[in-house]
């Protein structure tokens, strides 16, 4: 006989049955908001479900759903597995880059180029540039590609440091009209302490003035783990709010959510409603919304401070993750950092409910400042592998103009890193 609260695997499989039954008969083709993998992750993290049992259940029901036209077709999954195996897990090691601000317009070849920053890494140098018209680089590259050249072959440029080391750089970028931006990347390293770079005969002076950041790791202090999990889940999907209730139902099934959690669920529902779920935010009294969401929602349309902070920081390993954050850029509607994460799936949550893979314990990118404001970040362009993610994190809302310190607090379910970035 079924117990009052079934064991986690039984609860998971019954939740998956519900998902599958919603694709039988007249309901066929309805897309579940949550995947079997997402349900399994919740029980692995919170209810002690063994990972191998969870993986078997996910495999069973992902196959079952595929054969009902839902989710990833089987042969795609076979190809994904093959791709993952080929990729291996050898992500490049993390490094602490040296970042220099330039912020000057210089003539490079035929193009008046705005050089923003130069970032030195162990294997290359990135020169971030902008143009106010289509650069000749683009035009020539397009012509070369049309005539059969390989991308990156045709339009290298030469970069030299003050030690006499020379590197060849290739360009990547996008744009249109009067706004073009991109980066030149050298194929080898240059001296990170060089006072200047010579780019195609034009000397560009470098300012070595990186912000000094304090870094630490601390345990998360909050409510019950199940509450923190649900808040994290909401935070990790704040650009595409979780629509379904299957995870909540499942947690109730196994007894992790009970009537004692009523006040938490009320607060959770208020935040979900206030965030909008893609149907437009509902007006909710701010006082009714818990921190850190209250500040986030109160300031969500405020214009931010525009600035660039050259910085780089590497965290210790926490909960299986290690990361480097660098180059804080204040924008009108938020701010952005470069981020490199090493750890399972780069700490990236599944981007859609049909992915079998994905981090069971994704990182949540919160930040706050010394004015009591909160910010929430999400990947805004990234590359990722089985154990890495590299790209940019975009935080919302814009930086408070009066803030003098912003604290980046990427967090897993149990721990968080704190990177304090002084603002000029």
């Amino acid at each position: 006989m079924l117990a009052q609260h079934p064991d986690p695997e039984t609860a998971l499989r019954i939740a998956c049955e519900r998902m599958l039954l919603s694709n039988i008969g007249p309901n066929r083709g309805s897309q579940p908001a949550e995947s079997a993998g997402e349900l399994a992750s919740a029980l692995v993290l919170l209810a002690g479900l063994a990972e191998d049992a969870a993986e078997q259940a996910v495999a069973d029901y992902s196959t079952a759903l595929s054969l009902r036209g839902v989710g990833t077709p089987l042969h795609f999954r076979a190809l994904q597995r093959q791709h993952a195996q080929q990729q291996g897990s050898a992500a490049p090691p993390l490094f602490l880059p040296t970042v220099c601000v330039v912020d000057r317009r210089v003539q490079i070849g035929e193009d008046l180029t705005h050089v923003s920053t130069v970032t030195f890494g162990p294997a290359s140098v990135e020169i971030v540039v902008g143009y106010d018209r289509e650069p000749a680089t683009f035009t020539r590259r397009h012509a070369a590609l049309m005539s059969g050249a390989q991308p990156g072959q045709a339009h290298d440029l030469t970069v030299k440091d003050d030690r006499g080391v020379t590197g060849s750089a290739h360009f990547s970028g996008v744009g249109g009209g009067t706004e073009w931006h991109g980066r030149w990347t050298t194929q080898g390293p240059l001296s990170p302490t060089t006072a200047w770079l010579d780019i195609e005969g034009t000397r560009v002076e470098l300012e070595h003035a990186m912000a000094s950041c304090e870094v630490r790791v601390e345990e998360r202090v909050g409510g019950p783990l199940v509450h923190e999990f649900l808040w994290d889940r909401l935070a990790a999907s704040h650009h595409h709010q979780p629509e379904g209730h299957a995870v909540l139902e499942l947690l109730a099934d196994v007894g992790l959510l009970t009537e004692d959690d009523a006040s938490f669920l009320d607060a959770y529902a208020r935040v979900v409603a206030a965030m909008g779920h893609g149907r437009g935010p509902t007006k909710v009294k701010n006082a009714a919304v818990p921190a850190p969401w209250r500040s986030l929602l109160a300031r969500r349309n405020t214009s931010g401070r525009v600035l660039f902070v050259p910085m780089a920081a590497m965290t210790p390993v926490f909960d299986g993750f290690q990361l480097v954050v660098s180059n804080l850029r204040g924008l009108h509607d938020g701010f952005e950092i470069d981020a490199a994460v090493r750890g399972p799936h780069g700490g990236v949550a599944r981007s859609n409910p049909f992915e079998d893979d994905g981090c069971t314990n994704p990182l949540t990118w919160w930040a706050d400042d010394d004015r009591g404001n909160s910010y929430l970040g999400a990947w805004n362009g990234r590359g990722m592998g089985p154990d890495s993610a590299d790209g940019q994190i975009r935080f919302l809302p814009g930086l408070d103009r009066r803030a003098t310190v912003v604290r980046l607090t990427p967090q897993s379910l149990k721990e968080r890193a704190v990177v304090e970035v002084p603002l000029p």
């Binding site: 079924l2 499989r13 039988i24 595929s66 054969l67 036209g69 077709p73 089987l74």
Partner: protein
């Protein structure tokens, strides 16, 4: 114990094997080929490098999967629950050359059901379901693209026609029905068995009640306990033994004469069903003479 498998009608399935049309026959819980006189001899030859035949592949896959709990998770829950293979099963163009992998040129994608591919294609073995096939009669997918052996078996078996997939499910259920009562509460098989009961019972109750979103709670009770159903505006609670799956669901008796069968006993060519109406309550017997 009732021989449920013996009560199911015999099934004959036509299958392309090499260049010929062969038949597989299922009866009383055993599947056989009617066209291969010495399957064991063929297996030996295949192990020595000879060509495998599709009929023998099916028989071998069947033996591997006839107790598999994965079958219960993947196979249909009801007649309305059919499996599709629109983008799983490539059908080779007629000009495909022997030995050529159809995942590249020479392939078009099927718009039919899995069964359409598996029941009509001669040289396309289980590997077809994963996007490759060899017209030489070989049956092994390229190792780098292969799913698990289980996946390959199941795609082949669940794509068979003529009621064979249902009989495979029946064999799995009968195997476990004989054991479920003796399993300890911590047995690793119980979650899958409990889910199998939940899914199939719910798939029977909802259309019977005309409400495909009706909350249904299913409790597995010991075989000696009287099964029952209660229904109110919050949903339906069903308390049935695991043998509901073998005695009722497998036999296609879940809804009979507008009533839901909670249990069945078989005696001398007749089946007596314990049935309830949509309002639940005390079950009443209904006897059906079997052909």
């Amino acid at each position: 114990m009732t021989d449920i498998l013996g009560l199911l009608p015999r099934a004959i399935h036509d299958i392309r094997c090499g260049d010929e049309s062969h038949q597989l026959a299922w009866s009383h819980g055993a599947i056989t080929t009617l066209d291969h006189a010495d399957p064991d001899g063929e297996r030996t030859l295949a192990a020595l490098g000879g060509q495998r035949s599709r009929c023998i592949d099916v028989l071998d896959a069947w033996q591997r999967q006839r107790h598999s709990l994965r079958v219960l998770a993947i196979a249909p829950r009801s007649p309305a629950d059919f499996l599709v293979g629109d983008d799983l099963a490539p059908v080779p163009q007629s000009g495909a050359r022997p030995g050529r992998l159809s995942s590249s040129a020479g392939t078009r994608w099927s718009t039919g059901l899995l069964s359409r591919v598996f029941s009509t294609s001669s040289a396309y073995s289980s590997s077809v379901a994963f996007g490759w096939a060899s017209t030489s009669g070989g049956t092994q997918p390229p190792p780098e693209l292969a799913g698990s052996r289980d996946d390959i078996d199941l795609m082949m078996l669940l794509g068979l026609g003529s009621g064979l997939p249902h009989r495979l499910v029946a064999e799995v259920l009968c195997h476990w029905a004989d054991r479920v009562e003796e399993l300890p509460e911590s047995a690793p098989e119980l979650p899958a068995l409990t889910a199998a009961l939940y899914g199939r019972a719910t798939a029977a109750v909802r259309p019977w009640m005309g409400d495909h979103r009706r909350p249904v709670e299913v409790t597995r009770v010991p075989s000696g306990q009287v099964p029952r159903m209660t229904a109110d505006r919050d949903g339906v609670v069903l308390e049935v033994p695991f043998r509901w799956l073998t005695h009722v669901w497998v036999m296609g008796l879940a809804t009979t004469a507008g009533r839901l069968a909670l249990d069945a006993t078989f005696d001398d060519g007749a089946v007596t069903l314990q049935t309830v109406g949509p309002e639940g309550g005390e079950s009443t017997p209904m006897t059906v003479q079997l052909p």
